[in-house]
Amino acid sequence: MVDVFCPFTGMAFLGRLEESSKKAAKWLVEKTPIRSFRDWAISFSLWPVHFTTSCCGAEFAAVSAPRFDMERYGFLPFNSPRQTNLLLIEGTLTRKMARAAQIVYQQMPSPKYVVAMGACALDGGIFHNSYNIVRPHELFPIEYFIPGCPPRPEAVARAIVMLHEKVKRGGTR
């Protein structure tokens, strides 16, 4: 963030080149045709990060496996949080894991979404009185909760489709 000499000071860029270019880019991205284009692209490219927090991961794997195949919606579990935009909390979040989940969430580039899966992620579920769990809604802004213990893959698929539609019509901001 340095002041750059700019002959058009006061005309095009108000003072700081970097900041005003960011503003301009943001303005451009928020304009209607580009924004709806962008929302369309994001909605068909929800890539969850490879981050299994608990046993609901078994059903999460089933979601991308042949019978339920969420890749039809462009849903592709991917390696590093830097390249993904969806964090699926798969079941119980233990205290140890919650910290990792927070770091993973911070590492993800925006726009990013969180979907909490399972009764444990809702409010503890069967482990509501455990000494080692946290409720994910205290940590992240969560778009959708998926009830069930574990939720059936259909339910997970439905949540993803709902998120997909929400993103598509620009409902996530």
Binding site: C55, A62, T94
Partner: protein, 401 residues
């Protein structure tokens, strides 16, 4: 090998400044819910420190706060992919304390679901071992075929994964109509698929190159380390908790406990395939021989009010009488062992005569296999590590409980 040499290999090594430490997990494409601190010297692993506990949901403590029966669905969450086998041990321990034996039909039904779960669990493990060498087809095939067995189990019990099928004294539901035919069809399908797995995976030169001769565990080491399950049998030790005759009807059935001598990762994978074959044999025999009769012990059937008892027996669904949840567990102790897909699970239930167990100790197969992460990888290449991990069929929530 003396135990001191073994101990030296087991202890974690910090290494000097030439060691390159890589943290694999908890967010990592190949770690699932755990972390490995892998110490490398060049490309060679000097030591691995498994850091578990990321999914520790305090099952043992919570079991003490619940009525004994309610802990069955709780323990299922340890190994959600294998929930009948993980709870059968607990149910057996309760049965020993309560002094009831399940009727023959219930024992057959338990065996049936156990084997279906074992197949699903092995498919899960084989699928993961595929993705750990980036063989995505194996992963997808196994997970797709797993759905066949999950659907069958759903038909039998009403739940995809969390069956809560065995209860002290029997099972919860009877065999649905037309189940035998569907199961036989699934077996025919699976036999055909296993051939295809062999073609694309087990005989694939790339897979053989990655798995053969990697992570060799010798027989005497496996004995001393208390390794369980297919990992033990692949090292040439013939031991299977099903052979103890403590639960199910395994002593009446004709099946083989496969073993392999090599003890490497490939042997562990092939053994899982062989166990699926044996499980299918067991299912066929169970469907043939299953006797007629009640599915809950007489002692508990009597607890059901008479006007509900007749429909319950007719429909084959047990609706729990209220008193059932409030069973007093007689004072005493019981141990039970059962063979899960991953290996042997051990339960020790201590009761002080109240409704809730005083202490439940459960040692899960994955927890007993954790030592292998210390023991096997040193000396291997870094890229062998996922192969070793994949071949061990380790399930973190089970280990952490």
């Amino acid at each position: 090998m003396s135990s001191s040499v073994m101990k030296a290999r087991l202890l974690s090594r910090e290494g000097d400044e030439s060691v390159y430490e890589v943290f694999i997990g908890p967010q990592h494409p190949a770690s699932g819910h755990m972390r490995f601190i892998v110490r490398l010297q060049g490309d060679v692993i000097v030591g691995v420190d498994p850091d578990i506990g990321w999914v520790h949901r305090t099952m043992e403590k919570l079991a003490e706060t619940k009525e004994a029966l309610k802990a069955i669905p709780l323990f299922e969450r340890m190994t959600i992919i294998d929930s009948q086998n993980v709870t059968i041990g607990y149910v057996r321990a309760l049965e020993k304390l309560l002094g009831v034996e399940p009727p023959p039909r219930a024992r057959y039904l338990r065996t049936l679901l156990s084997e279906m779960n074992r197949i699903a669990s092995h498919l899960y493990g084989m699928g993961l071992s595929g993705i750990f060498v980036n063989h995505s087809t194996m992963f997808m095939w196994c997970f797709g075929d797993r759905e066949v067995w999950i659907q069958l189990a759903e038909e039998l019990t009403g739940a995809r994964l969390t069956h809560a099928y065995s209860i002290p004294g029997g099972v919860r539901r009877d065999l649905p109509q037309g189940f035998a035919e569907k199961a036989r069809k699934a077996i025919r399908y699976m036999r055909r698929r296993l051939e295809e797995y062999r073609k694309i995976f087990f005989d694939n030169p790339q897979v053989r190159a990655r798995y053969e001769g990697v992570g060799v565990l010798k027989s005497h080491e496996a004995r001393r380390l208390g390794v369980v399950g297919p990992n033990l049998r692949a090292s040439g030790v013939r031991y299977d908790a099903r052979l103890l005759g403590d639960y199910g009807v395994y002593d009446e059935l004709d099946f083989v406990v496969p073993t392999a001598e090599e003890g490497d990762a490939m042997a562990r994978l092939l053994l899982r395939g062989e166990e699926i074959r044996q499980s299918m044999r067991i299912i066929e025999q169970v469907l043939e021989r299953i006797p007629e009769g009640p599915i809950l012990a007489e002692k508990y059937l009597r607890l059901i009010p008479p006007k509900l008892r007749e429909p319950a027996l007719k429909e084959g669904r047990i609706k729990f009488p209220g008193i059932f949840a409030n069973l007093k567990i007689p004072e005493g102790e019981a141990v039970a062992r059962a063979e899960m897909g991953h290996g042997e699970i051990f339960y020790h239930v201590v009761s002080d005569g109240s409704k809730k167990p005083y202490r439940v100790r459960v040692v899960t197969p994955s927890f007993r296999n954790v030592v292998l992460f210390r023991y096997l990888p040193p000396g291997h290449r870094f890229m062998d590590f996922p192969a070793i991990y994949g071949s061990l069929d380790y399930f973190p929530p089970e280990s952490d409980r």
